[in-house]
Amino acid sequence: MPSGSLLLQGLALGVLTGGLYALLSSGLSLYFGVMRVVMVAHPAFLFLAAYLTYSLHNKAGLDPLLTILVTVPLFFAAGVAIQRLLIARLAAETMAMMSVLLTFAMALVIEGTLGAVYTGSFRSINPEYATKSLDLFGTQLPYDRLIGFGMAALTLAALFVLLKVTRFGRSLRATIQHPQAARLVGIKTERVTGLGFGVGLATAAVGGAVLAIITPFFPAAHWAWIGKLMAIIVVGGLGSVQGAAIAALLLGVVESLVLVTVDATWATMMFYIFLFLTLLVRPQGFFGGRLAQRF
């Protein structure tokens, strides 16, 4: 039986990792919520952002966290462009399915381009704080994870304010809830949809910067994340940003506790076990509220 201190350590790491998952999956919920797009390329964009962070850090000497001042606007613009130029052309009836194909192609293009530009070698960013940790009552809290958690909290808070308080957020939520009705009250739903996609992709820029300081990366690294992040948004309730955040925390903690008590193979499997349970018991997800899409 694992000791109490080990369980506590596992719990602490789980919460920190869960925060990271929440950040990485927030964009996915937005895409699905706003336009029923299953964005398989989201993890590829995360690693694209990680590589850009790497370049800006090494070539321009920017702190990895400051690079988001450059990458966030860039990704926002790219997101709007992708939605208006590509995704908007897909037929609405087959959106969920065709968007998988389209974004799968994007993921391959990004992976190939990263391979051509940066080669297949592993890259990593190692700021001073990357391998230090805070000792809290004998539990070690690594600084890179703490920073990741902090960035996740800030990003999600910003997203929350954007969605709940601003006029744009209200139109976006209206578009999510009932596009036809939203159009009837005068919301330019096409424009709102494009901007919503841009916001989703902008979260990938923040996520990429955080990933870059936590883990070494290579062009094909994104495949390992697709399954995990998709499982999170289904468990959370498709289309619900808060639901995904709660599910991310839950799965982060479960994964970590299973890791310290059982083993890594079972821990990875937890994501899929929760996915199956959700589909069996509550296909609309656990934390999405009544508007979450049935999977």
Binding site: F122, A224, W225
Partner: protein, 409 residues
């Protein structure tokens, strides 16, 4: 509308004609085969999980082909390499070798990277009675399939990689010898094989195994695994790793303030990106290595020079392994005097390799009945930021004394 239809019709005709032409030229190939270039078919993981080592092996193969061609080729014929990209996918690697053998009608095949791809690929070669010398399939499962045409062109199989280190640890005086060891390994036949080879020898020598973890390749989080290991305070830590996980594991152990006296990782530290990825923490880290830059084996110096000239950088173990495959096959082709894809010729080549001893850049190689190499890996260590060969002791390849216990990270 009319215009586009016409253009489409034109394109269709063009496509049909070019297909027909393609088919014709294929039919003529076998006739030229005996005198044209010797074609060697190779599938490698140039994208996907193994793209990095896959590209390294490719460079080794290319350099070998260039070296051979510069000295007049094999049997007076030029060598031509045909590469396929299997994207690290065991299904793709099978169809790659099938089409290389049946459609491209290659004379010889060379192996891909990693045990996971070597086993399915070797089965195709076996079914077509083609010699299959491979650069990177060291797991014990590779040699228990009953393959007759497979040879692993490197010094040792996975389980024997740490042999010199095991001898060293068990020979330490009792008061210095560590008493506990922890292992964490990627769920991959090669990576597990290396760690378990050492684990079994140390356990038999009385060093207690306090943790023994396995994680799947898609694992992205090492903090919790490290927490389990940290709670046991092991004196030895061994990682059965590839690159990404060796860095992840090392950083996680550092963050949890674990300080083992001896740390070894299977593959990561042998790559040039390692010291940068872990900053100062590489000091004292051990790793088995099948090839050394400054080893004095015949042809090694020439290999290193030629590699620097062609690619503008020093070769690593991957390039050396690819080059070694070429050297072994070339020696066999020269001795037997044939390079045809016939059962007769391929069997003769395999018989020759089974019975012979071959001088290569990784040292002299010989093979047992199942294609296992019969030599051992050297052990390298980062000392003052430089890679030194520390074991085997008092051998020609040793460049420094092993640093034990390792400095804290």
């Amino acid at each position: 509308m009319v215009k586009t239809t016409r253009v489409r019709a034109g394109l269709a005709i063009l496509a049909v004609v070019s297909l027909a032409l393609g088919a014709c030229s294929k039919d003529e190939e076998p006739a030229k085969n005996a005198s044209g270039p010797i074609k060697i078919g190779i599938s490698l993981p140039l994208t996907g999980d193994f793209s990095e080592p896959g590209k390294g092996i490719k460079e080794g193969y290319e350099l070998w082909a260039e070296t051979v061609n510069a000295s007049g080729g094999m049997l007076g014929r030029q060598v031509e390499l045909i590469f396929r990209d299997d994207a690290s996918d065991p299904n793709r690697v099978v169809s790659d070798y099938e089409s290389l053998i049946t459609q491209d009608k290659v004379n010889l095949v060379f192996g891909p990277f990693s045990s996971r791809l070597v086993i399915p690929a070797a089965q195709v070669a076996e079914d077509n009675t083609m010699l299959f010398v491979e650069p990177a399939g060291a797991a014990k499962e590779v040699f228990t399939q009953g393959f007759k045409y497979l040879f692993y062109a490197a010094p040792a199989v996975a389980n024997d990689h740490y042999n010199y280190l095991a001898e060293y640890i068990l020979a330490l005086p009792a008061d210095q010898r560590p008493k506990t060891a922890a292992y964490a390994s990627l769920d991959d036949p090669f990576a597990k094989g290396t760690a378990y080879g050492l684990r079994d020898k140390l356990a038999a020598g009385g060093i207690k195994t306090v943790a023994d973890e396995v994680y799947p390749p898609e694992n992205t989080d090492f903090a919790a695994i490290a927490a389990r290991i940290a709670s046991k305070k092991p004196e030895i830590f061994v990682g059965g790793t590839q690159f990404e996980d060796s860095v992840g594991m090392l950083r996680a152990l550092q963050e949890l303030k674990v300080q083992p006296k001896l740390v070894a990782f299977s593959t990561g530290p042998t790559l040039p990106e390692f010291p940068e990825a872990v900053k100062g923490a590489s000091e004292g880290v051990l790793s088995p290595v099948g090839w050394a830059l400054n080893a004095t084996y015949p042809t090694n110096k020439e290999f290193v020079e030629a590699h620097k000239k062609k690619f503008g950088k020093e070769p690593s173990e991957d390039q050396a392994n690819g080059f070694t495959v070429g050297q072994v096959v070339a020696a066999a082709v020269k001795a037997v005097g044939c390079a045809d894809p016939t059962k007769d010729c391929q069997t003769k080549l395999a018989e020759h390799i089974r019975g012979g001893k071959f001088d290569t850049v990784v040292g002299p190689l010989s093979f047992d009945d199942n294609g296992r190499p019969e030599q051992a890996h050297m052990i390298q260590q980062y000392i003052k930021g430089k890679v030194e060969i520390v074991l085997p002791k008092s051998s020609a390849v040793q460049t420094a004394e092993l640093l034990f216990p390792k400095p804290a990270w």
